[in-house]
Symmetry: D2
Subunit: 189 residues, 4 copies
Amino acid sequence: MATLEPAAEEWPLLPDWSVSQWFNTEAPLSLSDLRGRVVMLFSFQMLCPGCVAEALPQAKRLRETFCEDHLAVIGLHTVFEHHEAMGPAALAAFIHEYRLTFPIAVDRARADNPVPETMARYGLRGTPSLLLVDRAGRLRRHHFGHLPDLQLGAAVSRLLAEHPAPWERQPQSVAEPLDGRCEEGVCTV
Amino acid sequence: MATLEPAAEEWPLLPDWSVSQWFNTEAPLSLSDLRGRVVMLFSFQMLCPGCVAEALPQAKRLRETFCEDHLAVIGLHTVFEHHEAMGPAALAAFIHEYRLTFPIAVDRARADNPVPETMARYGLRGTPSLLLVDRAGRLRRHHFGHLPDLQLGAAVSRLLAEHPAPWERQPQSVAEPLDGRCEEGVCTV
Amino acid sequence: MATLEPAAEEWPLLPDWSVSQWFNTEAPLSLSDLRGRVVMLFSFQMLCPGCVAEALPQAKRLRETFCEDHLAVIGLHTVFEHHEAMGPAALAAFIHEYRLTFPIAVDRARADNPVPETMARYGLRGTPSLLLVDRAGRLRRHHFGHLPDLQLGAAVSRLLAEHPAPWERQPQSVAEPLDGRCEEGVCTV
Amino acid sequence: MATLEPAAEEWPLLPDWSVSQWFNTEAPLSLSDLRGRVVMLFSFQMLCPGCVAEALPQAKRLRETFCEDHLAVIGLHTVFEHHEAMGPAALAAFIHEYRLTFPIAVDRARADNPVPETMARYGLRGTPSLLLVDRAGRLRRHHFGHLPDLQLGAAVSRLLAEHPAPWERQPQSVAEPLDGRCEEGVCTV
């Protein structure tokens, strides 16, 4: 096959995020802890209309469609403007009102720059931004703006089908799949 | 005709609002200043999903559809929960991000009660709430939740057609209608 | 009041339609029979995508929002292309599948012209076309394409508020309004 | 991994369709001709509201999202009711008006049964029905009703990633991918 994209091994490892606070998770999560799962990272701001209208509903659908054992859906609150309006207390209220249940991280603010640490580290251009990381921790897709469900579902599924090895090394989670609907990472509803 | 609703004269005058701050207007507005116009008041909270998804887009459409000379569209930010997240600075950022251009008032907070003054005075049950006031200042419709565009367009139009007298007393505005599209309060696009 | 549109009396009477077949009505309807009611006429073709996606759902909403006693909603099947695909049998199937319950007329075909009689008589430019007729039978609005619900609700309501005289002459219908929700032609749900 | 679904080899081959007429293709297509590609078959009726509102727009999106070299999108007009309204001439008008450009087959009618041949052979319960066939011709998914884009995108992508062998045997198509956007069957826009 004449492929136009680099082989999976050539994609860069995504460095870990820098987070000052977590919501919807008992303990802080690191990207390396999630090795073995595909990770879908939604960078958003709570007062960004496109995030509220499109990206976050899509994150919810993604969470409902795929198994948590194989796909981690993570929100990353990357505040680069209106900092006074989008602090952690405001975010907590937003998460409650919009019934968001997946883990959400607050990107660590920097003293000398309105752009927070992880946003700068990842080179994000704005919100919403979608970062799709494979089971080996490599950044496979970085998209600024909205990605239609057909494309996103295809991209996620393609990564779920890859690299069974590291994932198989997590026997406890696979042995007890989320309510029995978990088949190769795709929930059959 | 056997009518099931009271005659217009029997509806109560809506008392004026109590507002601590205004956005999108050079000077504070009072309900009595708007006498002669129909007033559509949208009570909302910036972190209320139904307000963001339905009520505020509807307020924008209303503003674009009817003439400002005859219909005043006013937002009333009635914060009764998550006060720490929805202060005036946060609201300013929200108004900017969502491109809201009609006048928006901050309902005056009370020291001893989470429900702000105007919200209590008007007996609002939650957000969004719609209050429709006729040219004579009488409350003609009070609706909690979403009202479909067909019904709202009909209700507004019905009040616009009433009480020509006070409105005729504003000759300067009628003589120079908003870009010539203003016909009996209905913009014909 | 400086009005920019002609007084109601100056609008032309809409001539009656020419119809070869009716659906959803026991007896044929004529426009003159409907005098006293506002008439909303939707000209459509069953294979016109804009009619299916927008105009007919809007006609349904209109039917559910306003009282039949005061507003007649009528579909007019004005086939000017693909005649072989949109005959009466096909239309019957379409009406059944799309659960249309308001009266629908088949515009009378002409032997020498693909454009049917009523469509030519009314000067319609295509489908969907909306014709709004007041209680006195005068054409008050003619729109080619989609009209947003806010504007249509306003236009209908404005005509419902006019000309109470002929309508009051129908005491039997007003005495027994449609499930008690009928107030001056506007259903308050 | 404890998998809950049969291995790909165990899925049944989908028998070929029986078609009386084709649209949007120069020559008739058979399922066996499409071996090497994933085949997404949309069974629909032109007067089925769910087909018009959901399934056919989804088929269009699918066609625009994935490469024709790797995914064949086929419409199958399975008329089992209102036969007089949905003949080939009516379908031709429908295809033209709705701007459908992918190949569409007319399921062969039977003299003694309202359900056409392929519909019976495949055991379809109604319209819309979605049949997803892998590169080896095996039926991998059969769904009656609507399938959300996320799920469908995932299912298609998963099959596109399978069975490279038969597909590699089509070097001419892979050597000249559809406007250069074709990467492992997924168009990167």
